[in-house]
């Protein structure tokens, strides 16, 4: 098994709590195939050694990932991506992705630039999920 080291980034201005950013980045890496089931995620020490953040933050993130079933801790060895992924993360979204690319091209032809597309998507997302919550 090859040790893959995912590089975490921290966006201090985003308003998203640090531990949540780490959780999201692990999930994102999984989606993009950077991390595969069975891979080891960096140790707490490695993460804080790069990011200079409190180890408890990393522990909190890893606990959350374990709770969601994305990772599992193996005693004495470290934390690994679960081989049984919850469906939401493991699914292959190739078809959806292709459809999205087509839509983006349509939006461009309609005259929207990148910012405009981004704004449209954000507003739509907000509307859909907000309405769902309401």
């Amino acid at each position: 098994m090859v040790l893959v080291v995912i590089e975490f980034r921290l966006d201090e201005r985003s308003g998203v709590p640090t531990y949540l950013q780490l959780v999201q980045q692990v999930k994102q890496a999984l989606r993009l195939g950077i991390l595969q089931p069975g891979d080891q995620v960096p140790t707490v020490k490695e993460v804080v050694g790069k990011l200079a953040i409190n180890p408890n933050t990393v522990l909190k993130a890893y606990r959350e990932l374990e709770r969601e079933g994305v990772t599992e801790a193996r005693r004495g060895q470290g934390t690994f991506i679960s081989t049984n992924q919850p469906a939401a993360v493991a699914a292959d979204y190739t078809a959806l992705r292709a459809a999205l690319v087509k839509w983006v091209e349509r939006a461009r032809k309609a005259g929207l630039d990148e910012e405009g597309i981004d704004a449209l998507i954000s507003a739509t997302l907000h509307a859909v999920f907000f309405e769902e919550a309401a």
Binding site: V48, A52, N54, P55
Partner: protein, 296 residues
């Protein structure tokens, strides 16, 4: 290991007529990384010196790892790492001689740990300490403190004089040491921004008194900024503690510490980041009552 790595009760220190620190009561839980924040002259160094036994209290008491460092130095000092302001080192010494000094002055000394750290930091052992850069000297001082395998680490403005890269490297180093486990850290600074991602507990000193002493999560959760049309804050002040109020012709902005829920629809409520909270406390002057830790 006791529950509170650092504990003070009514601690005060007077030099002549001036109280450098007064009425200081706080407890830093074991395993925390605590920020000791405040403007220059607020009493941060005094607090640390009292804790480590360099100074004796004029009032009250302070205990580290459950004991008094001044009264029982041989029992306590081997378990506490301390780096004074400006990280004093013997400048004429070579680095290996500096390590030797540490080894000779302490009953337990992890030479391998020290060597491994210095190697990772790529600081040559035969170099004279005085010729190292500020960042390197700070790292060396930290290495010497960590080689004692302490349970508590007290750092007085360790990164104040460092450039951003050196600062980042120092904090990376420090966090790795914390990740190894069994370590409580108290580090002082007059800059808040550096410490927010590293610390989970904050002690705010201003005007020689403790303004805040609580876990950072709790601080951020309890403070809010209220903005609304210009008005008298007394209704709000009846329930919550108003830390700072500011008014324009048409608008009033309040930073409050919430005691309960904020129901009033007149106000727009938003979260405040740690730096703003600190500034609010620093701005209100010493005549206000200091924060008291809320019993959990």
């Amino acid at each position: 290991m006791s529950e509170l790595a650092l504990e003070a009760q009514g601690l005060g220190k007077r030099y002549g007529k001036n109280w450098a620190l007064r009425d200081c009561t706080l407890g830093v839980p074991s395993g925390s990384v605590a920020a000791l924040v405040g403007p220059n002259g607020a009493g941060k160094t005094t607090l640390l010196h009292l804790a480590i036994g360099l100074a004796t209290p004029s009032a009250g008491s302070v205990r580290v790892l459950g004991r008094s460092a001044r009264e029982e130095p041989s029992a306590v000092l081997p378990h506490i790492g301390f780096v004074a302001q400006d990280h004093p080192l013997y400048r004429r010494f070579r680095l290996d001689e500096m390590l030797n000094a540490g080894a000779k002055l302490n009953p337990s000394w992890d030479e391998e740990l020290a060597l491994a750290r210095l190697e990772r930091l790529r600081i040559p052992l035969r170099q004279k300490v005085g010729t190292l850069s500020g960042g390197q000297q700070a790292q060396v001082a930290l290495t010497l403190a960590l080689a004692k395998r302490p349970e508590l680490l007290l750092l007085d403005e360790p990164i104040a004089a460092l450039d951003p890269l050196a600062r980042r490297e120092f904090l990376q180093s420090l966090m790795e040491a914390v990740a190894d486990g069994g370590l409580t850290v108290v580090l002082s600074s007059h800059i808040v921004a550096d410490l927010e991602r590293v610390c989970d507990y904050m002690i705010l000193l201003a005007g020689a008194e403790v303004q805040l002493a609580a876990p950072i999560d709790e601080i951020v959760a309890k403070h809010r900024v209220l903005s609304g049309p210009r008005t008298d804050p007394s209704t709000v002040a009846r329930v919550h503690s108003v830390i700072r109020e500011s008014h324009t012709e048409r608008q009033t902005t309040l930073v409050v510490r919430a005691n309960g829920h904020l129901y009033d629809t007149r106000w727009q409520v938003a979260e405040v980041d740690l730096e703003e909270i600190v500034l609010a406390y620093l701005g209100r002057g010493s005549e206000a009552r200091p924060y008291e830790e809320v019993a959990s």
